[in-house]
């Protein structure tokens, strides 16, 4: 089983976590066209390289971010939303 390192709880089996999917930029509803809003709703980053995702450590309900290679499954780093300068 894969290990994911929770910034708060340390390394744990990945089945203690729930993935909330790649980070999405929230477009401004006031200025976004219907077409772009539909894209926002249905399109998810599915690239084969490194993706940045939201994860939840279920027993502690702690949410954090992880950079993970979507092909090799290698976790590059995990970090808190507060430390998310690198957040796209």
């Amino acid at each position: 089983m894969k290990i994911l390192t929770c910034p708060m709880n340390g390394p744990r089996n990945i089945n203690e976590f729930q993935c909330f999917g790649p980070v999405k930029n929230d477009p401004d509803p006031a200025t976004t066209s219907d077409a772009d809003w539909a894209r926002h709703l249905f399109r998810v980053d599915n690239s084969r390289g490194v993706i940045t995702e939201w994860w939840r450590h279920v027993p502690s309900n702690y949410f954090f971010l992880a950079e993970r290679n979507a092909t090799t499954n290698e976790v590059i780093r995990t970090f808190t939303p507060q430390d998310a300068e690198a957040r796209p």
């Binding site: 089983m1 894969k2 089945n15 729930q18 993935c19 999917g21 790649p22 219907d34 077409a35 539909a38 894209r39 709703l41 249905f42 399109r43 998810v44 599915n46 690239s47 084969r48 993706i51 995702e53 979507a70 092909t71 090799t72 499954n73």
Partner: protein, 413 residues
């Protein structure tokens, strides 16, 4: 004894049929380039060459023939869906399977032993009734059965009476079945090749050149090709392939895992699947029990297997049939699935005039191999999306006209 066997016995040497010609040199141009040498691409090539007279066709396969999801799926064939668009489409898929061995002169071993899906909750039973009502209205062979009939259909099931997973009833789909997955692809390949279609293995598409909304060139590791029409049908890679042509698809890749036991003498006649346990089982004609279930919990483009999924599937299987505890597992594997937001495929036109999509097949593509091939061929030959495919357009999401099949897909693909 079938006469065909005598031919082998009385031939001095093994009589070669020559199913799949060796990969020829690439020509500079084809009327149709089909990207993806899996079941769907090969079926399309077959229908193009046999029914539309289009034989200047190249099927490009990055690896070996039908080595992607055609090789990795667990071969469920069924039409017990929920949307009327889905049912109409998959129903014809089942019908085409019934005729496939004759059509291809290749025994694909279509084994229509029926599919029994189990309900452990009232909510599941309610959804079964909806699938049954929709199916009956569309003329498919489907009904909701009570717990006693479930027992009659699959006598060894653990009914868990009074327990948390009591079987309350089932969805019985007598038309459901399986086929030999490789044979489907090989049969289409052999037929298409005999009519002049070129099959290029180890030929990878690296990109496209476009001009004025058309693909003008397909770039491969073996050289560039000009193409009149292009279809992509590369399950597990469609998002990337479409992106190379500048087309963005609402697809996310998830691994789907399955496993198989050692061969046993026949004991399980029907396909059995459980919605609550996310497990399904079928005994192959070789005697192995093929066990599958839900997708992996997070996005990944890898065919690695996990122990957790194997444990989960084993739990489900031994709950349904406790005596399977002593049965030995031989192999586990995975495929990469292209999941769409509504668990229905994306077929038809793309923003590029000569690029056609046969994508988003998630966990449910095998059963659609003939019907997708038939209508994609018709679409490409006519330059117009076949009516039966129209609801599956990639535009449906922005229009909120989703074809939601999640409930009919989660437990059995």
């Amino acid at each position: 004894m079938p006469l065909r066997l005598l031919k082998y016995a009385f031939s001095r040497d093994y009589p070669v049929t020559g199913d799949i010609p060796a990969t020829p040199d690439l020509k500079s141009s084809y009327d149709v380039v089909i990207i993806g040498g899996g079941g769907h691409g090969l079926a399309c090539a077959h229908y193009l060459s046999k029914y539309h007279g289009i034989t200047n066709v190249a099927v490009l396969e990055k690896g070996y023939l039908a080595g992607g999801n055609t090789a990795r799926n667990t071969t469920t064939i069924r039409s017990n869906y929920i949307t009327k668009e889905g049912i109409a489409f998959y129903k014809e898929g089942v019908q085409l399977y019934e005729e496939m061995s004759q059509e291809l002169d290749f025994n694909v071993m279509f084994s229509q032993r029926g599919q029994l899906t189990l309900a452990h909750t009232e909510a599941t039973l309610r959804s079964f009734h909806l699938r049954a009502e929709m199916g009956k209205h569309a003329g498919t062979n489907i009904e909701v059965v009570d717990a006693q009939t479930v027992k009659d259909l699959s006598p060894h099931l653990n009914m868990d009476e009074g327990g948390p997973l009591e079987i309350m009833g089932g969805l019985w789909h007598a038309d459901g079945g399986t086929a030999r997955h490789d044979a489907v692809a090989w049969g289409y390949a052999a037929q298409a090749a005999r009519r002049g279609v070129e099959i290029h293995q180890r030929t990878e598409v690296e990109g496209f050149e476009t001009d004025q909304g058309r693909i003008t060139k397909v770039r491969t590791n073996r050289g560039d090709i000009a193409a009149g029409q292009v279809m992509i049908a590369v399950g597990g890679m469609n998002y990337d392939m479409a992106m190379r042509a500048g087309v963005e698809l609402p697809i996310r890749c998830y691994p789907l895992q399955a496993m198989v036991t050692q061969p046993l003498k026949p004991w399980l006649h029907t396909l059995v699947s459980s919605v609550s346990l996310h497990t399904y089982l079928v005994q192959s004609s070789r005697g192995e029990i093929v066990i599958g279930g839900g997708s992996d919990p997070y996005q990944l483009c890898s065919t690695r297997s996990t122990l957790d999924m194997k444990e989960h599937l084993s739990e489900g299987a031994t709950h349904l049939f406790p005596f399977l505890q002593g049965v030995r597992l031989l192999r586990q594997w995975a495929g990469i699935t292209d999941m769409t937001p509504d668990y229905s495929p994306i077929m038809g036109a793309s923003p590029l005039k000569n690029l056609w999509l046969d994508c988003g097949w998630g966990t449910w593509g095998f059963k659609a191999t003939p019907v997708a091939g038939k209508y994609m061929a018709q679409t490409i030959a006519n330059g117009r999306v076949a009516p039966i495919l129209e609801p599956f357009t990639m535009e449906r999401f922005a229009r909120f006209e989703l074809l939601n099949e999640m409930g009919a897909t989660a437990a059995s693909h």
